[in-house]
Amino acid sequence: MVLQYAKWPEIQWMSDDAGWKEAKTITAGVDIGTTSAQAAVVADGQLAAYAGIRAGTDFRKTADEVMALALGASGITLERLSAVGATGFGKRNAAFATESLDEVSCHGKGARFIYGSEVTTVVDLGAQTVTAIKLYEWDRVWDFAMNDICATGMGRNIEMVCDLLHVPIGEIGEYSLDLGGKPDPEPVSTTCYNYAGTETMGLFRPEFRGDTLNGNEICASHLFAVAWRVLGVIGKLQSLEPGDIKVEGKLGFTGGLAHNAGVTRRIERELDTTALTSEYDPMLAGAIGAALLVLPEAAERGGVR
């Protein structure tokens, strides 16, 4: 049997207002991550279309596919686009891109679009990396911090837990919070996601622990460890003293794990804050940011490529 629990639904959307196709400057952004890829189309600064798919092993094919899906049946061709910004781990594979952009700027810009100008701390929860970004009140990065080398693969690891527990990834967050009023169990290893994954698998074996945990608690233990690790990255961003982790201003999550309440609510709880919410999918932040960052120059050229 092929396990499908880790698979999240792919997305495609296009504005009902067909007038966007007549916009003077149409730009696009693609965010090619290790596990997912997103594309966004922006017409004169307004979001016109987007798509999100699972990244395959062929990044170039993935980039082509997600861009084609975003443009859909609009009749807009790649040549019609004034500029295309590419970001993410696989950005070099977006052969159609006109500009390569760093992930931090794109997620910062995209978060401002998604959550508005009040967001000052952005936490990008990706499959491979975690990035905490602090923004000025204007659209500029003040500071950022990324996870260490030995802490990559967080999102991918959660997919593995979903498959092991037979819980769909869209439900795993709430599942981990459903503890019948009990507090979170101790987190698994917070040093490295490989250790965390191994330790979580160990929790399935009753002989490893006297107090056998149920599925919800195992999941809670794993996601608590993830949240713990993310807090460490946020701490690097904000603190003057070790252990002094705080968020100044409003917090906004981006990336696939922003959908995982088991991670985000635990971070909110530890930081004693409530993150901003939005009608837009936070996974799109990188792609929207890339499309917006290439917009000013494209507009200056009069929309000409």
């Binding site: 760093d102 000025y136 500029r140 990065v141 500071d143 911090a145 080398i149």
Partner: protein, 398 residues
């Protein structure tokens, strides 16, 4: 002699026109040739506080054991969970890359380096070994006397090993050569203060690394010629100016990655960078005391700074003097000395609103990931806003 003719002399010694990277890469050939020519002993050293002048006065060639990026299929057997550079040193030493080395000296400091030293003692018994104690409390009342006495013990051990007494004249000559060398390196380093430096960060780092594996008298000739060549160079383009602080880097790959992104490293606070040549020996009647004061008084390495916290101020002064736009704080994974010291540095940088980016690395730099970090960091610092936005001022203040 014309400037061009002088430069050619330096170029001949290097085999290429001031290709310092090539000299670092060919350092084993150089040391073997030195040995064949002079019949002298080559002494390998690990730690930044080793008083090379004493070995040089005893007629030896002191060479720093540099970590490289070589496939390591040996160190796991001998050394567990150390930092990658130290494992790499063990790998190279046991594979015979340093087969020309007659002895090894380690100085009180990093525990991982000591592990490497111990492994060698257990595996190559025929070599000369000395463990040099140097107080962690570098400024304590008796530290200089302790260091001086330890240096005297080292000199005695050298005498017993080589049969040659180290006279005051020998020490004076060695100090003269080393002081002149440090002076030349400082002169070159000063050129990096310029708005548009004539020397890149990678060239400077390769130069300093080459300096640590060569006969200083010979290197001084090359450096003098190099300074003349620098005088003929046209200023480089205006670039974002970075500083590197943290664990020893062993090569110039990080500087090269910075340059590939269109920026330049104009300052560093590294044990194998500016800290190596920052201060000179101030001559006094008691030569060993003069050396003790020089080594205890050099810019503190992280290991020796836990009780003083002087590094942050030194780093701040460098950042100010060299007008850096941002600081890269890099730490080798498992580097205990910088692991315990780094927070004091980032606290200082944050309090003074100097942008920095902290990251961990192995001896082999993960290039894609590092490039992604650098790209984001440099975007943050791009001219047009970084100088105008006033990052020295607290956000929200006038």
């Amino acid at each position: 002699m014309s400037a061009e003719a002088t430069i050619t002399r330096g170029a001949d010694a290097l085999g290429a026109a001031f290709d310092f990277k090539s000299l670092v890469d060919k350092r084993h050939d150089y040391a073997r040739a030195w040995k064949a020519k002079t019949g002298g002993k080559v002494l390998g050293w690990f730690e930044p506080y080793f008083p090379e002048e004493i070995a040089y006065a005893a007629g030896m060639l002191p060479v720093r054991i540099l970590a490289r990026h070589e496939v390591d299929d040996i160190s796991d057997k001998w050394i567990y969970s150390s930092c990658y550079p130290v494992r790499d040193m063990v790998n190279q030493l046991l594979k015979g890359r340093y087969d020309y080395v007659d002895g090894l000296v380690n100085v009180e400091g990093c525990q991982w380096m000591y592990n490497a030293f111990e492994v060698m003692m257990n595996n190559r018994e025929s070599l000369f070994y000395h463990y040099l104690f140097l107080p962690d409390y570098t400024n304590a009342a008796t530290s200089k006397d302790v260091a001086k006495n330890e240096f005297a013990v080292l000199a005695d051990r050298f005498k017993g090993w080589t049969g040659k007494s180290i006279t005051d004249a020998d020490l004076d000559a060695a100090i003269e050569v080393y002081n002149h060398n440090r002076l030349l390196l400082r002169r070159i380093n000063e050129l990096r203060r310029a708005d548009r430096p004539v020397i890149s960060g990678s060239e400077m780092m390769n130069l300093v690394l080459a300096d640590q594996v060569m006969d200083k008298a010979e290197m001084n000739v090359i450096l003098e010629d190099f300074i003349k060549e620098l005088g003929l160079r046209k200023p480089g383009p205006d670039k974002i100016r970075l500083m590197i602080v943290g664990s020893e880097t062993w090569d110039a790959r990080l500087e090269e990655l910075v340059e590939a992104q269109g920026a330049n490293v104009v300052a560093d606070e590294l044990d194998n960078g500016t800290s190596y040549y920052w201060n000179n020996v101030l001559p006094q009647e008691d030569r060993l005391m003069a050396l003790a004061l020089r080594y205890l008084g050099r810019p503190h390495s992280a290991l020796k700074d836990n009780n003083y916290r002087r590094r942050p101020q030194h780093i701040f002064e460098l950042a100010e003097d060299f007008n850096v736009d941002g600081v890269l704080l890099e730490k080798q994974i498992y580097c205990h000395s910088h692991g315990s010291d780094m927070y004091a540095v980032w606290k200082m940088l944050r309090e003074r609103y100097i942008p920095y980016h902290y990251f961990e690395r192995g001896s082999l730099l993960p290039e894609d990931e590092t490039a992604a970090r650098l790209e984001a960091f440099l975007s943050m610092l791009k001219p047009g806003l970084n100088h105008l936005a006033g990052w020295h001022k607290k956000f929200g203040e006038d």
